[in-house]
Amino acid sequence: MAPLLIFVIFVISLALQGSVLALAGPAGVQPDILLVVTVALALLADLRRGAIVGMCAGLCQDILFGAPLGFFAVSKMLVGAAAGLLAADINKELTWSAMVLMPLFTLFSDFLCLILLKLFQIAATLPFLTYLQQVTLPRIAMHFLIMGIIYPHLFRIQKRSLLFAESEVEE
């Protein structure tokens, strides 16, 4: 049930991503809702589950949007792992704590993408600094707000242990 629910959340996120959210940002910049969902889920889980959720989300993105296979799987897996690592140390009932962490994970994600682009000599559409100015900064603001909307819902679902088994999260 839990993996199916998470898969459905991914599918809805991906569908929203390419359609409704395309209207959201200026000059073609749109939020990466899958990243927000990954961080939110990882903050409700732990390192291992955060990494798995991130990897699956990234793989879906790679497959659906034609990026080199594994590109976003790696970046989102590491973001999910990092968020999962912090899961035990934050007050999960406070939406603010997730919202405040989101800009850091957005930066971290873009930084990882840059490293992967350099590592595999994939041509980047924009130089990193330009990307930071034109894409990352507006996206940080969007992700901050979207986390405020998404996180409370996922927290309520997790409170009923529908996403991750409570015993595994406690470990």
């Binding site: 949007f65 080199p68 990307y131």
Partner: protein
């Protein structure tokens, strides 16, 4: 007071942490290997096609929802504008205004569809009309998804245009959807020439502009090339992927390169890459030469 865990619990916890780190490192190694193997791939494997097959209809539904939301907000803003101008008659004309809004919307749609139809009829190529159902969220890669795939005759490397001009080519195709790699993607380039002069020796390569994502750049032009601001740039057909004569954009400025050996031009794309709704896939006899200068890199 701090609670001290028994030794066996501490050992278990350490073991579990080690397992997690091993899992993470293994997964990372596999994925990095995968990226290395697929960094410059063309096409899609069957599991990818299957996932796309599942998600494409959902994306289509959300896209229709988006259009409704967009139409709704357009209608609201139009209504507000009229409210300011016609405050006194607002209540009496509410229905008429709503109707007018609807008519304007239909007229716009009619014009758009008519221009699409005209293009289709006037074009020397056979075209497949498609709707954009998703866009890559990352901004690292400029790729859109359309709702037509191999079932409709879409194949890899076919050119994709709008009523305004060339926008890119098919990166990969699933049965009911396909990925379009836009000209603004750093991995895409097209061989082009200036429409006014049509000098065969003045062929350049159009690619993304690293300085400004809103523009394209035509480079490798001879220093003495006859190119001016406002010139239309079209595909040359020499690269083997894009048919000849597809409008790419207009020159906004020209300059010499750092060495002074060639010149380049900054182009305003003819198509609006940020607002792509309906597109056409050009069915052409062009092959997929591996060594083409228009190939992905």
């Amino acid at each position: 007071m701090r609670k001290v865990m028994p030794v066996h619990v501490q050992r278990n916890s350490r073991k579990q942490k080690n397992r997690q780190v091993v899992f993470l490192v293994l997964a990372l190694a596999v994925l990095l290997l995968l990226i290395g193997m697929t960094a410059n791939r063309q096409g899609a494997a069957w599991p990818e096609e299957m996932l796309r097959y599942v998600v494409a209809p959902v994306q289509g539904v959300f896209q229709r929802l988006t259009r409704s939301v967009e139409s709704f907000f357009a209608a609201v803003s139009n209504y507000r504008h009229l409210q300011q101008e016609n405050d006194r008659l607002r209540q009496q004309l509410a229905e008429a205004v709503a109707l007018q809004t609807k008519i304007a919307e239909l007229r716009q749609e009619n014009n758009r569809l008519r221009s699409m139809l005209e293009l289709r009829e006037a074009s020397e190529y056979e075209l497949i009309a498609a709707e954009v159902i998703a866009r890559d969220p990352s901004s690292w890669f400029n790729i859109i998804t359309i709702n037509k795939g191999t079932k409709d005759g879409v194949r890899e490397n076919m050119a994709v245009i709008t009523t305004e001009g060339l926008i890119g080519s098919i990166l990969s195709a699933a049965p009911n959807s396909a990925q379009v790699q836009l000209l603004t993607d750093a991995r895409r380039r097209v061989s082009a020439l200036v429409q006014r002069s049509r000098e065969p020796g003045e062929v350049g390569v159009v690619e993304y502009d690293p300085q400004n994502a809103a523009y394209l750049r035509m480079k490798d032009l001879p220093r003495e090339a006859n190119i001016q601001t406002g010139d239309a740039v079209i595909s040359s057909g020499l690269g083997g992927v894009f048919p000849k004569g597809l409008l790419i954009g207009y020159v906004v400025e020209t300059a010499e390169d750092e060495m002074g050996l060639t010149q380049y031009a900054r182009l305003q794309p003819a198509a609006n890459f940020y607002r792509l709704e309906e597109v056409f896939v050009v069915i052409s006899e062009h092959g997929l030469p591996a060594d083409s200068e228009e190939e992905n890199f």
